[in-house]
């Protein structure tokens, strides 16, 4: 037990090294995730933020090996799971779960709430008997704040917030250590969103969970994350603690992203919203150079030619941008 504890404190729970996922599409290779290295210490939350098409969901799935990475390593407690065989992986899957954006499309509409939550436990035989599995299901419903009277109703009878609670209960059913939350609150109204965020933070504290929290919503990611990575076209362009990123964003893309949020404060209404021109370019066979260069106001000739590496420019603050290496753009 003691050695196990030490293990947890020294080695990050999740680590990726040079993770890549390319898809073959008509016209070339789509670089969905391109050389991303992350570390998530146990009991911490890594926020992954970016616009649609930046590869954040693909990254989440590749970390869980729900899709096979093209290259790179995914380490869980120091062991590379991309080398695991089927039975090792099956064992591993219990420790890693995912919560999806749209709970309705990720649950079977013909199963009752209790059946959905109990399903993984029955498949994996983690409970002594069927009765024990349903007993634990009832306990899980208490944990996620679903009244037990909903055990026998079907998901279509419930609202989005309660459906998301089913998704969370199901993800917790195998007592995982690590959960990928893929836009878990994006489809919910703000008042319900706040309820679910609080729930996710409470169960993290109580069960010692580690999260990878994928979202496009910057205020949500700031609220829930310890550390954040900002992705743009498959690459991590900035990595910092939540506070540092919002106080002092360094990458021009992060700066533009933060400036684009309309704030619920009327004193700022006459301040023109800073906007970046253009839209995300194609991730199919991207040319060398910084992928943000075509939209970047500060881009120079070097940005179009040479790909910037992610480097630590301040303590704990990593940026992939030529502006900060002292050699000019």
């Amino acid at each position: 037990m003691m050695t196990n504890m030490e293990n947890v404190s020294n080695v990050p729970l999740i680590e990726t090294r040079g993770l890549k996922k390319f898809f073959k599409v008509r016209g070339g290779l789509l670089h969905a995730v391109d050389n991303v290295s992350i570390t998530i210490p146990a009991r911490k939350t890594l926020g992954v933020v970016g616009e649609s098409g930046c590869g954040k969901s693909t990254l989440g799935r590749a970390v869980l090996r729900l899709i096979e990475p093209t290259a790179g390593e995914v380490l869980f407690e120091g062991r590379d799971i991309t080398k695991f065989n089927r039975s090792q992986m099956r064992e591993m899957r219990r420790k890693m779960q995912i919560i999806f954006q749209d709970p309705y499309s990720s649950i079977n509409p013909r199963m009752s709430v209790a059946e959905i939550i109990a399903e993984y436990m029955l498949i994996n035989h983690t409970c002594a008997s069927k009765a024990a599995a349903f007993q634990r299901t009832a306990e899980l419903m208490d944990v996620v704040g679903l009244a037990r009277r909903y055990a026998n109703v079907y998901p279509h009878e419930l609202d989005g917030g309660r459906r998301q609670r089913i998704g969370i209960a199901r993800a917790l059913s195998l007592r995982p250590q690590f959960i990928v939350c893929d836009e878990p609150v994006s489809a919910l109204d703000v008042s319900i969103q706040a309820q679910i965020l609080n729930l996710l933070m409470d169960i993290q504290d109580n069960m010692g969970l580690t999260y990878m929290f994928i979202t496009h919503d910057l205020s949500v990611v700031k609220h829930i994350s310890d550390e954040i990575i900002v992705m743009y076209l498959g690459q991590c362009v900035e990595r910092a603690t939540s506070d540092a990123l919002f106080e002092k964003p360094l990458h021009p893309y992060t700066q533009a992203l933060l400036a684009a949020i309309p704030e619920p404060d009327i004193s700022m209404r006459n301040k023109p919203i800073q906007i970046i021109r253009g839209e995300v370019t194609s991730p199919v066979d991207p040319p060398p150079g910084c992928r943000f260069a075509s939209r970047c106001e500060k881009a120079g000739e070097r940005c179009h030619r040479e790909t910037p590496d992610l480097a630590e420019r301040e303590s704990g603050h990593w940026i992939a941008c030529h502006l900060y290496d002292g050699k000019g753009v």
Partner: protein, 333 residues
Amino acid sequence: MTQELLKITDLSVEYRTDKETVHAVNHINFSLNKGETIGLVGETGAGKTTTALSIMRLLPEKTGFIPNGSIVFEGRSIYDLEEKELHNIRGKHVAMIFQDPMTSLNPIMTVGEQIAEALELHNTDHKSHEQIQARVDEVLSMVGISPSRKNAFPHQFSGGMKQRVVIAMALVCEPDLLIADEPTTALDVTIQAQVINMIRELRDRLGTAMIMITHDLGIVAQTCDNVAVMYAGRIIEAGTAADIYKGEFRHPYTVGLFSSIPNLREKTARLTPIPGLMPDPTKLPAGCSFAPRCPHATELCRTTPPAAYKNNTHVIECHLLEGKDGWTKEARV
């Protein structure tokens, strides 16, 4: 200067089926002057879109009913118009932008044809084909799309560009009133900023009045002069943007909405969500519809619907304002 463009009085909308009646909008009042922007804020099911559809007279024919109320647009009651007069108003005087651009564009027509369509239908001053094409080019460049792309089909455009096309379609006839129903919800934040900036600029330049329907308090703060907060089909609070964002008194629901949003500037350990859910619109509570979720609710709130209390421009429907200085009670409609 302040000319009234739209006045909605005591409007209710019901969706009736054999089994039940959904009370989607209940006795709402608001008015909009020329060139002004009002934000309709609220969560899913609050009745925002139903209000918009009833202004355009686009409620589903078989199920949508208006038991009471009136909508007066430029001095004429929308519901007394003949179908033909209505066609003249829709598209030309009142235009609407929907949330999902793909569902409002025809996939087998070029974007140029779709923009020209409204002009051809409302061609009262007999513009020639060339004049219409010139106008199409003009609005396309106005929304930041090169006119050379007018022969492209919607699927060749990205989400942000599609929404620009929809906005171009809405603005091509220079409407007096633009209804934007969650115009940026499906877009990324940087594209959203571009679209909001563009809507603001165009509104200022053309003097279009606007109803901005959104659940995002940030967008309202950046675009609207006046705000109406909707809950369970009622406007529970209305006023200027300053009233809603900075007012001394606010409806407990509005307060709850604000504290549900994670703050970008301060570190908060926990959010303060509004407990519970919006009431079932087929059986609304007897008293205040927010009472079951309200931290300040009393027995009175649960049994008696609150009156509207008014302080200058600010109106709140809440029992808590009874006897407060400066607030006068108005009869409940």
